[in-house]
Symmetry: C2
Subunit: 389 residues, 2 copies
């Protein structure tokens, strides 16, 4: 099987862009990715594309993969839209890796895009809500903050996690986001402000929830043995894994873990031949602050139930033992659904190359990075492990 390397990445700023639709956003991320290939690449070398998109607001533009490659002048090549809720472009990236591994193509594109800020809020709630269970949860009035609030309450009950721990995640991620020119929110916040901001679903305040964002991201992948033709600093895909879980919370054994993440991480570590302690930097799926704490545990960065301790002791800050979400995460960087997975890849590639734009965001000497992308309330999850050299 061929090994795979990443040779270029691009990302729009995540945020609210009244003047840009999905087409403009996708083209912007694509052009940045092409220009990021330091020895240059003819876009025609790209022979396959996987595009992540939830289609928030309804699929106003269908046959989306075809439209996307048409926009970037690559109509003709095989293109596939992958939709796994918030993990869409994480799974798109995984499919692109397998296409290269299988020998079907040498160079592939994985990307994602979402346009969310022009959708009326009631419709948005519906379009996001369908990514959880519909029959037992959504139609009974459950929304995503409600689902994650249940997880948080159970985690607090079982492990003594406090609202302050959740707020610490927000403070850390806003601090990192303030150093990221591509982040939706580039302002720091305080523990006091996070704790006292409006309640969305107890115990989650608005500072425990990621924003609604527009954005796009693109990664260009290549057979590892051909990568040096395109770049002096290829970043290798060392391992990956993916999993699913029961869609409804009530059918799961435990509210305080996402089985899909655990399964995905286990496969990825095994394929990469590493352990959680070998990871130097991670981008995890913090759609809500509790999700980051649960991710620490599911990914093995600490023992089960010790996520709160990990954030409290500053271990996941830049400079800590295992910096998490140096980009600001979904919380501060933003969460344009379809763009999040390859957006995480973008950040880890920049970190491993030592190119995180502002020095205070760079995790010094990072060699191995991990991305963790979750669909909905954990119905799907995908993990990638990247390494330098």
């Amino acid at each position: 099987m061929y090994k795979v390397a990443i040779i270029g990445v691009g990302q729009t700023r995540f945020g609210e862009f009244a003047d840009k639709g999905v087409k403009e956003l996708f083209v912007e991320a694509f052009l940045e990715a092409i220009n990021d290939v330091d020895k240059g690449i003819d876009p025609k070398d790209i022979k396959e594309a996987y595009i992540g998109n939830l289609g928030v607001g309804g699929i106003q533009l269908g046959n989306f993969s075809s439209m996307a490659v048409d926009q970037i002048g690559l109509h003709g090549i095989p293109a596939t839209r992958v939709e796994n809720a918030c993990a869409s472009s994480g799974f798109a990236f995984r499919s692109a890796v397998m296409a290269i591994m299988s020998g079907v193509c040498d160079v592939a594109l994985a990307g994602g895009v979402e346009k969310m800020t022009d959708i009326p809020r009631d419709k948005l709630r519906y379009w996001l809500g369908v990514s959880g269970d519909t029959e037992w949860e959504r139609l009974a009035g459950m929304t995503f903050p409600g689902v994650y609030a249940l997880m948080a309450l159970r985690h607090m009950h079982q492990y003594g996690t406090k609202r302050e721990h959740l707020a610490m995640v927000a403070v850390k991620n806003h601090k990192n986001g303030a150093q990221n020119p591509k982040a939706h929110f580039q302002r720091e916040t305080t523990l006091e402000r996070a704790l006292n901001s409006p309640m969305v679903a107890y115990p989650l305040t608005i500072f425990d929830c990621c924003p609604v964002s527009d954005g796009a991201s693109v990664a260009i992948l290549c057979r590892a043995d051909l990568a040096k033709k395109y770049t002096d600093t290829p970043i290798y895909v060392a391992g990956f894994g993916a999993g699913t879980d029961r869609l409804s919370l009530f059918e799961r054994e435990d509210f305080t873990t996402l089985m899909a993440s655990v399964l995905a991480a286990k496969q990825a570590y095994k394929m990469a031949g590493i352990e959680p302690k070998d990871v130097d930097v991670a981008e995890v799926h913090d759609c809500f602050t509790i999700a980051e704490i649960i991710a620490y545990e599911d990914l093995g960065f600490c023992k089960k139930g010790e996520g709160a301790k990990l954030i409290e002791e500053g271990e996941t800050e830049i400079g800590g033992r295992i910096p998490v979400n140096p980009s600001g995460g979904l919380k501060a960087k933003g969460h344009p659904i379809g763009a999040t997975g390859t957006g995480q890849i973008y950040e880890i590639v920049k970190q491993l190359r030592g190119e995180a734009e502002k020095r205070s965001r760079q995790v010094s000497g990072a060699e191995i990075g991990l991305t963790h992308n979750v669909g909905g309330s954990g119905g799907t999850a995908v993990v990638h492990i990247l390494r330098r050299g």
Copy 2:
């Protein structure tokens, strides 16, 4: 790279089923596929799933891949929803093949499902319409019959194709569908009836258009060297290809060909090491009768412009030189969007095994079969070549 074989297939009848939703339909096709594996299979051997679904009527049930594997008791395994309009499960099948080729898994599932008949007709027009171009076509009032009517008119103008030739495709496919217990329409029709039925978009009458159907289909794939463990009659994936095209007709060079199909077929023939004349039986994407005539030409079953002659001379009937759509095709078998691609695989597997249920539908001694699945008006297309032994 590993080679890939199909060890089991299942399909619901396509049609209108007021009592069955996507979950029931998918489970039904899955159970049939499992029972079709003649030496038996533990469903737990399946380690990866790709599910094609357009999500007609809006994605009322999101995180669809997770939901689908949850329904069949396989929650935990990686699952990916693939949406490439009407070619969704054709592309899902292709992804499953690459997952096995790459060594990521030994046994995978590809399937698709769609529930269409409970959607109000005005909404249905919208949900289907988005799979063509939106900005230049749909919002200007164009519907799919209109798009294919333009192709038909141009084909008539350029090559002398007549309305009678279109009607011959309908008559042939209804004749085949009448022999298929899984087909939506199991009644024959006449040239006269087809020609004189209500006009939808000139020159296409209602008999030139495929119906709106519910249904599901599933294929179970396996590393070829392990296939004999599961079945005495594995069917091998000899080649595949996929392509895209400009989404809007006005940006294409020619209305009488689908470039995506031509590119897909070229790759598939090359990988399989065969020529069009070697194909013994084909399932092609006849969403409209003109699409079948164009497919004859795009797939190389005849020269450009000679599609009408091929149907007129009976070459694509069962017993002819290259029987096309023995299942009845989309026209008579039905077209539950997400289920069509793996539904074509189902038919070709049955044909190559010599198991087409009624004898008058069986293409005698077929060794090599082809499936051709198109997304929208040709924005995406995928071709697979299967062979016996």
